[in-house]
Structure formats: C-alpha cells, structure tokens
C-alpha cells in the first residue's frame, strides 16, 4: 500500500472523516482513504492522478473539476460503468477499474492512437468508414470494440430502486450561498421549501473558494447561512436532472427518483469554471483552479508541489494563496490580462511574494514520458487575441491551475424555456429571459460578488414567497455591482501548430476540428455540434460550449452575441435505467378462484392484466391435458372460470336505445329474460369487441365484454353518451362478478344438484335465455350460452363468493366426472364451433362483413357506431373474407396463426386460428381468403414454415354440430 503523501493536516469543515479509514482498490492496487473521500480525492492523496484514458487518442486523463462535471473521471465498478470518480464516495472493499485502455491504465497499448490524430479528422466517422461502399461492414466491429465507455455487467445484482412524489411551495436548486439565502427567506415567510444540493454537503463555492485575504469569510458565511435553514427541507447528494412543465422536477438521490412539484422554483445552480485552450491542456496535473481548491478544502489533499496558475480573475490569486498555505510552491501566476484588477486577494497574493506575470499565458504544457503528467509550463507574452510570442520562461511544475472564466449552469433554466445568450461586456454566457414561475440568483445570474450573491438569494426567496402567496415582508435590496465583470477572459484560446489544444476533452476535439467543420460548410452552431460531435460526450458541453461558440463566431464572422448556443435538454447528467424504472408496478388481477386453479395444478397465462388457467397439469403433458379437457366437455361436463369477462350494467329508460346505438344488432325488441349477441364496431366500422347482452328488465341490460376490451368499451360508452345525452347509466361491474361456464352434455344434471329454484328443463330455460336464482345458496345470474357448442350455463355470482361457487360446482359434478378446463381447451372447442375471437380472428381493419358477421348487423335502425362506415366499405366491395378450412390428412403439419394463404405469388390472407381437433379427427381453422374462394369445397394454399405449401379445403362453418343441436338440447 502506498502512502498518502499528499494528505494535508486535518482542518475543520473538511468533508472527510479522519477517524474512519476506508480501504479500496484502483486498477488492482490497494489504497486507503477516509470516509467522505471520493475515489479521485483518495487517489490524489496517494499522488495517483491518471483516472482514465481519452475516448479517441487514449491520452491519460485526470482530475479536471472535482465536481462531477467532466468525463475525465469516468471509472468502472464491478456492477456499474461510467462512475464519476470525483463524486462517488469510496467504501470498504470497493474495486475500481479504469476504462478505455488495453493493458493497464498507466501503460495503454492503444496510446499510439494519439500519433494518428492527423488521420482522424473531424467528421472522420462520416468520411472514413463509408467509402468504398461496404467499408462500414469491415470497420464496424473494430469501431464498436473501441467505442463506448465502460462495460455493463449483465449479471449485476438488481438493486432496489423506487420513486416518490413530493410537493413544495418553493424548490431551490443549488445549495450555495444564493440558494441557502433564498431557501431561508422562504422558510422565514412560512413557506414549505426544499433545498436541493448536488454535493454531499451544502455550501457551493463557500465550501471551497476564498473570498478574502485571510480566507475566513467563506467559513463564516457558510456557518451563518446554514444556521438560517430552520424549517427548510434539505436534500444533499441530490441532483435535479431536468425541468418539466408546471415546475415538475425529477430529483435523484441515491436509488430513488423524487418527482417534485413546486409552485415556484428558484434556480441557484451556479456556474461552471471553464478550461483554457493551449497545447497539451489535457495532461493530468492540469485542472480548474476550483478543482485544486476543492481538493484542499473539502478533502485535505494537496494538489501538487509546485504550481503555475493561469488566470484572468481574482479566483486565480485566491487559489495561489490556498496552494501556498497548503505547502505548495507557486512558481508563477500568469495573468492573461495586461492590467490585473486589484483587490484584497490580489494584493495579498503579491504581498505573499507570489510572482505575477501580467499579460502572459500558458502556451504549452510539457509532459512527462507517456503524457502521464505535466512537468513544466511554457509561458508566452500575449500579443493579440489568441496570439502570443514564444520564448518566455518555462516553469517547472507538477500542477497547472486554470482560472480564466465561468459559464452559468443554465441547463435547468434552458429546459424551462429560459433564454441564454452571450454578453460581450462580461465575456460570458448570460441569462436573457427567465420564464414565469422561476426566479434565478447567484452566478447563474452573472453575480460573483459574495455579498451581492447572498443579497440576490434573499431577493429570489422573497420573490418566490410572494409568488406563492406568502407574507413576504419588505423587498430586500440587491447591490448594483454584482461582480459580473473581470471574471471571464474573452479569449483564453491559444491554438498551437502541433494541436493537442483540446476544446472538448470527452471527444478529443481540438481547435482545428471546429475550424475544419466550419470550413467544410457546417456554419450553424447546431451543425458544428453534430458534425464535430463537440458537446455530445458525457459532459454535454459543460466545458466546450463556450469555446466552440467563440471559435464559430470567429471563423464565420458572426456576432457572438447573436450566435446563440445549442439546445440543452434533460437529463442534465447521466441517469441509470434503474432510477428511471423504479419499482415496476405491474398490476395483476386474480379471479376469485385463482388459488383453486393453482391447487389444481393449472399452468397460468396472462390475459390482459388477469391471470387465467391455460390448462391443468404438468407442462410436459400440455397437449394431452388440453385434449383431455376438450374431450371431457364434448362427452361429459367441464367447468371453466370466466370471471375475467367484462361486465357492464346498462340501466335506465333509454337502456335499449343506448344498446341499439352502441352495438350493431337490434335491441329495442329483445325480450326480457333473453340474451343476444353484441358486436361492437368503432367509428371506422372495424370490429372492436363482442359479448352478450342480457335483458334482465325492460330498463336493464347486463352486457359482457372481452377480457382485454372492457375498459375501453366502458370508456367509449361514457364518451358516446356524453354526446348523446341518453337517459341511461353505465356501470363497470367486471370485478364485482365471478363466473363459471359449466358445459357439456351432463351440465344440466350437475347444475340441478345445486340450483333448485330455477326450472332447468329445456322448455323452461331454453338456449339463449337468462335467469336469476341461487346456485349453492349464492345469488346468481344464469345465462344459457353456447360458446363451446355444448349444453352449457354461465353462472355469474358476486365475486366475494366465486370460490365457494367453484367448489360447489366441482363437488356437484364429481360423480358425473366433471373436470376443469382452461383457456387452451376453450379455444379449441370454440374453433370447432367456428366462433371468432376478437383481435385473434380479426385485426385492426376487419369489418363485420369480412369476418362473416353480417348477420349481426341490424339494417333497420337509423344509427349505430360505425354503421355508415360499414355501408361505404361494403358498397365498395370487401377484398378478403374469413372462412373455415379443414385439412383431413392429419399427417400434414397443422398451419399456425399468421401463416399466409396464397394464390401463386399473391398473398390473399392469413390463417387466424388452427387446431388439430381430437373431437373431429382432422385439422380445422379459420383463414382470410379472397372473396372468390369462399365457396365450400374450394381448395386454398397455405404457406407454412419453411415455405412449404399445404392444401386446405374451404368448408361451411361450424365444423362441429352444424345444427346447434347439442348446445340447444
């Protein structure tokens, strides 16, 4: 184990807990850090700086921001790729690996890629691999192997992820000085306020930056502001990853996604320090000044031993003081400005003997072998915009801090429709327009003076409190000078003849890549982005947008203030699929008899949200079980759970009129005590659902609907009647009724044992009639139906007593040899009877005439939904019709659903259902054929698996018991 030679003495306020050590490994080497250390900070303490290799040239990369804002720190965990090493905390036993290398991170066999950079020009994907034709096929596997970041462990343990809603008067995003001040103000006004901070601790810049000469102000203000947060709900380590309409905020904290609704939002998201552009500006050891400050203040880690600072603002000088205090020698401060501003911090730096070179820049960084670390900085005198004269001092160093400007973290504001432009005066992106319902404060708003930032936070809180109707008190004052100027240098870009002057670290893009993209005609900023891929990597342009806009303006001669910037969309940062998925809520509906099916060994299958028994018995015996169940219905008696059928009560004086308008058949004269088939078509005339209508009273129909269709049928009934205004009430009672169908020649004798208050004789209770009575003492609705083609009764009872009904029926049928049958046997039986199943034997275009259902349409009524559309289509002529077919030769394989019916090369239709029927001793099925093929006896060609053509013969439906004698007995 190496020693943590860069660890500084403990200081109060740091984020690590020195009393608690944590052991982890990186690339196979063991390290020890402290609780609260990030992977990157713990490694930095051990002087280990290379965290990854770059995407294209495999260049070593290290700490850049220490704020989770760059792709340099992406590392691999056993179960998780692309983890940000500078924000992910270490834990005991954590095994961390690098990404994007062959061999080892320190010695990558792919590093030679850098030598080829001349041959990997901008747009190289588009240019290189697509010529000659077919080249991509050759290149793709190679590119794919090299592309992408990290590895997904497909065997990773499934974590527990979930979501939660939340509601607040005001949500403040950003726990820096502005955000804390805003939240405190809202709480003081009595508001319900949430403060969201991305880092594990509050503070923002107060947690790392220096605002005064002796470095005490930040701590003092932080304590003061924290103390004011009484009544504020604080979430740290939480990232608001987007803004959605009506202030809907997705906030990720750990494995939970909070979906927060705010009446008003205060954005105090701060700003992101921007890198400079010069030769080798990506070497490990070159970082943002704020990153060096974070290492020192938050983690107690010395970022280097001898530093050079390139700056254009006071923060560079503050960093110099911090470094010096941490025991790091400061070789030089290169101030890009000819005339640096004065101020307490600048003066203190000079007073501390730190050498300052005004009008100078870092022009070139020199690397140790293999580009593993910076070893020196070549400085140069600036002679013009982006130009400098070589030949000035070279400073040996192991750290270069860049402090030449900021860019507002405008992303959430942009999601909300806020406008961001470039302000020439401050040389920064600035917010031009803030949408309603949002207030901004702090450096997002271009404010950098600490007192002004806090005052602005108070003002934003006051504004928010007022907006949500709280007593907000007197309007706070905000100073006029908010410190916007002298923060950002207008042109910290120094292109180098040898390139490696990176403007986008994620994508290894250099100055000339942008220039070339524009030369090739991609002049609009959105086109520059797409062609060059600038800003399209994991850090989403947080460090490249500003430079690319500046370069684009320069190359095209456009006004930088007018050029705009690329669109920013959610999410702000990468989010895992687990977070998006959360708990998988998949409602499952059980019938009242569900557990009885399980006890009987049923194989369950989903039907819509319901679970239904497919058949009873072991999977290995599937076909035999289905066959035996079906044969038992035909010869004996079977029982099936039909509880999943939809049930709708249509009640009121206009009940029959309503039925007449909804469904295709005629219902006005349907006698009480009888049922009638219902067929529902949509407005285009396409079959949508079917069932039966039972008229229990003049004003009362009980209508069944298909298992999967009932919710839509119910909704569309209510929608229709919102327009028709008929005197009728529609109620969905699907879950209120359980039901069974007892079917088979012995069903009457079995039912008679448990149903004594209804005359079950064929004369008294005929086919298609309905009755109410009791079955096994349970109040029941009885329907004589014939779906499976045998004598049978559907019995509908209150679902609370469904299980009792099931038990009673099985018991009553024991002597008769009753056995339950499942959906598969039922499908076979109904097919033998030629009954269609909606959406299996029909599709999204089937009108009744195509499915042989013309008989179910009443021609005498003035209207039903879909009627006019059907008339028009029938007049035009249908192009296919559903027919029954049989294949007598059982040695021929049975066709399957969706096998095509063909005529020569022409497709005329498809098989919709087919089964080898044990009851009929042949294969039967339904298929769409051409209208001239519908005559019984016509031979049709069916193309089955492997392209083989088999012959079927059209026959008249039904296949079984054509006179219906068995179901009507």
């Amino acid at each position: 184990m190496t020693t943590a030679r860069n660890r500084l003495p403990e200081r109060s306020g740091e984020w690590v807990d020195r009393s608690s050590t944590v052991n982890f490994s990186f690339d196979g080497t063991s390290y020890q850090g402290f609780e609260g250390d990030t992977i990157a900070s713990a490694l930095a303490a051990h002087d280990r700086w290379i965290l990854s290799r770059s995407f294209k040239y495999r260049r070593p990369r290290g700490v850049l921001t220490m704020a989770g804002q760059d792709a340099n720190t992406l590392v691999q965990l056993p179960d998780e790729p692309n983890v940000l090493a500078d924000t992910r905390l270490i834990s005991n036993g954590l095994r961390v690996e690098g990404q994007n290398f062959d061999g080892s991170l320190e010695n990558d066999r792919g590093a030679y890629m850098g030598l080829f950079s001349k041959f990997l020009p901008v747009g190289f994907y588009y240019k290189t691999f697509f010529r000659p034709r077919g080249a991509w096929k050759l290149w793709e596997p190679i590119v794919r192997a090299r592309a992408g970041l990290g590895k997904v462990n497909e065997k990773a343990h499934h974590g527990y992820y979930d979501k939660a809603y939340g509601w607040y008067d005001v949500v403040v995003i950003g726990g820096g000085p502005a955000g804390m001040a805003a939240a405190a103000t809202v709480a003081k006004a009595g508001g319900d306020v949430l403060l969201v901070e991305e880092n594990v601790q509050l503070g923002g810049s107060l947690a790392y930056a220096r605002f005064d000469a002796d470095g005490k102000k930040a701590d003092a203000e932080l304590s003061r502001l924290k103390a004011g947060l009484d009544g504020v709900t604080v979430m740290t380590g939480a990232i608001c990853n987007g803004w959605f309409p009506d202030n809907w905020l997705p906030i990720i904290q750990g494995n939970r996604l909070y979906k927060i609704r705010a009446k008003h939002v205060v954005l105090a998201t701060g700003s992101i320090e921007q890198p400079m552009v010069f030769h080798n500006n990506d070497l490990p050891g070159i970082m943002q000044a704020s990153a060096a400050q974070r290492l020192i203040r938050q983690y107690g880690v010395k970022p280097g031993n001898r530093a050079v600072i390139a700056t254009a603002n006071a923060d560079g000088y503050a960093t110099a003081l911090d470094l010096k205090q941490a025991g790091c020698e400061v070789a030089a401060v290169l101030d890009l400005r000819d005339q640096p501003t004065n101020g307490a911090v600048v003066t203190a730096a000079r007073d501390n003997g730190i050498p300052v070179f005004a009008g100078y820049t870092a022009y070139e960084a020199l690397a140790t072998k293999g580009n593993k670390h910076i070893r020196a900085v070549k400085s140069a005198k600036i002679t013009g915009r982006g130009e400098c004269r070589d030949g000035a001092d070279t400073f040996e160093c192991d750290l270069l801090c860049m402090a030449t400007g900021y860019s507002p973290t405008h992303h959430l504001l942009s999601h909300a429709g806020g406008e961001v432009g470039y302000d020439g005066q401050s040389s920064m992106f600035c917010v031009r327009e803030v949408p309603d319902g949002i207030t901004i404060a702090g450096s997002l708003n271009g404010s950098y003076d600490l007192d002004a930032v806090i005052a602005e936070g108070c003002f934003a809180g006051w504004t928010a409190a007022k907006a949500v109707g709280l007593k907000s008190g007197r309007q706070p004052r905000v100073p006029n000078d908010r410190g916007s100027l002298n923060q950002s240098h207008p042109w910290p870009i120094f292109p180098h003849p040898k390139g490696k002057d990176f403007i986008d670290y994620d994508e290894d893009l250099q100055v000339r890549d942008i220039q070339n993209a524009i030369k090739e005609g991609y002049e609009h900023i959105e086109l520059v982005k797409r062609y060059s891929t600038v800003g399209m990597g994991p850090s989403q342009g947080r460090h490249s947008a500003l430079t690319s806009v500046r370069l684009t303006a320069d190359e095209t001669g456009q006004d930088i203030e007018e050029i705009g910037r690329t669109t920013s969309r959610p999410p702000f940062t990468a989010e895992t699929f687990g977070v998006l998925a959360g708990r998988a809520f998949e409602p499952v509906r059980h019938t009242a008899m569900h557990h009885r099916h399980a006890e009987l060994g049923a194989q369950m299958m989903p039907a819509g949200l319901w679970m239904r028994p497919a058949y009873y018995g072991a999977k290995a015996d599937r076909n035999a079980a289905i066959e035996a169940e079906a044969v038992n219905v035909r010869t004996n008696v079977g029982l099936i759970d039909v509880s999943t059928l939809g049930g709708l009560e249509i009640r009121g004086p206009d009940a029959a009129e309503f039925m007449n308008r909804m469904y295709t058949f005629a219902y006005l004269k349907q006698p009480v005590g009888r049922s009638r088939y219902v067929l529902l078509t949509d407005e285009t005339g396409v079959i949508a659902d079917d069932g039966v209508a039972c008229r229990f009273a003049e004003n009362h129909f009980y209508v069944t609907a298909t298992t999967g269709g009932v919710d839509n049928v119910y909704r569309s009934m209510l929608w229709r009647n919102a327009q028709w205004r008929l005197d009728v009430d529609v109620t969905n009672v699907t879950a209120a009724y359980a039901g069974v169908n007892i079917a088979g020649p012995k069903s009457r004798e079995v039912l008679a044992k448990v149903c004594t208050d209804i005359d079950l004789s064929a004369e008294a209770f005929a086919y298609m009639e309905i009755r109410t009575g009791t079955v096994a003492g349970i109040p029941a609705r009885l329907l004589r139906v014939g779906f499976v083609g045998e004598l049978g009764y559907e019995i509908h009872v209150p679902s609370g007593q469904g299980e009792a009904l099931w038990d009673a029926m099985l018991e009553a049928g024991q002597d008769a040899g009753i056995r339950p049958f499942g959906v598969e046997a039922q499908r076979m039986l109904r097919l033998e009877k030629g009954h269609i199943i909606i959406s299996q034997d029909t599709d999204g275009l089937t009108i009744p005439q195509e499915a042989g259902m013309a008989w179910a349409i009443s021609r005498k009524k003035p209207y039903f939904v879909g009627g006019r559309s059907i008339d028009i289509q029938v007049a035009r002529g249908v192009e296919r019709e559903l027919v029954g077919f049989e294949i007598a030769d059982t040695s021929v394989p049975a066709p399957e659903e969706c096998h095509l019916t063909v005529r020569g090369q022409e497709i005329v239709g498809r098989v919709t259902s087919a089964v080898r029927s044990p009851n009929l001793g042949k294969t039967v099925g339904l298929a769409y054929v051409a209208p001239d093929q519908t005559e019984p006896g016509t031979e049709i060609d069916i193309k089955i698996d492997g392209g083989r053509i088999i012959k079927g013969q059209v026959v008249k439906l039904p296949f079984y018991d054509p006179d219906g004698a068995r179901q009507e007995m």
Binding site: F244, R661, W719, Q723, R725, L726, P862, Y863, S869
Partner: protein, 99 residues
C-alpha cells in the same frame, strides 16, 4: 409533467388523463355524402391555435372538454361536456322525418 384541472377531480398530473382528440360535430350519418363522412372520420382540422379537445380522467372515466392553445401548450379552460352537448341527440333514417 403538466397539470390538468379536471372539472370533477381538480388539478391532477396529466398522466391521469387520456386525450381523444378535437371536439368535432358528427355530420348526419344518414344524409351526408360519402366524402363528408370520410372527412369526419379520417381528416382532422389540426388547427394551430386554440382548440377544444375531449379529455378523460381515467380513474373516474370522467369525460370533459379542454380548451388548449396547441402552439404554446397552454391550457386555457376545462369544463363539463354538458356546456356544449346540451340536449339529447337524435338520429333518423332518410325515410323518416329528420328531428
């Protein structure tokens, strides 16, 4: 996520609702031409600007009407459908007296 103010249930996340498209007047199916009927079924105005739409609060299956500016996605008003559909709709066949 947008909030939609249901006349029955008050403001709710819009994920509780479905939209059934613009409120359109059905032509008399027994007297209009094929072209008029086809237009009603298949062609929608798709006007840019303020439109009236059918929305349904799914948990209560409650249908109502939303006035929405589809250029800005601003919801201007929501109201019960009885404001527009005030009386019983009648149909009659061509050989019967139109009511």
């Amino acid at each position: 996520m947008k909030i939609l103010n249901c006349p029955l249930n008050g403001p709710r996340n819009i994920s509780e609702f479905i939209c059934a498209g613009e409120v359109e007047v059905e032509p008399d199916p027994n007297r209009c031409s094929n072209a008029e009927w086809a237009e009603y079924i298949f062609l929608h105005d798709n006007d840019a600007g303020v439109v009236q739409e059918w929305w349904c609060h799914v948990p209560t299956a409650y249908w109502f009407i939303v006035e929405r500016n589809n250029l800005t996605d601003e919801i201007l008003r929501t109201f019960p459908s009885t404001e527009i559909f005030t009386k019983r709709q009648e149909y009659s066949r061509p050989d019967q007296e139109a009511s």
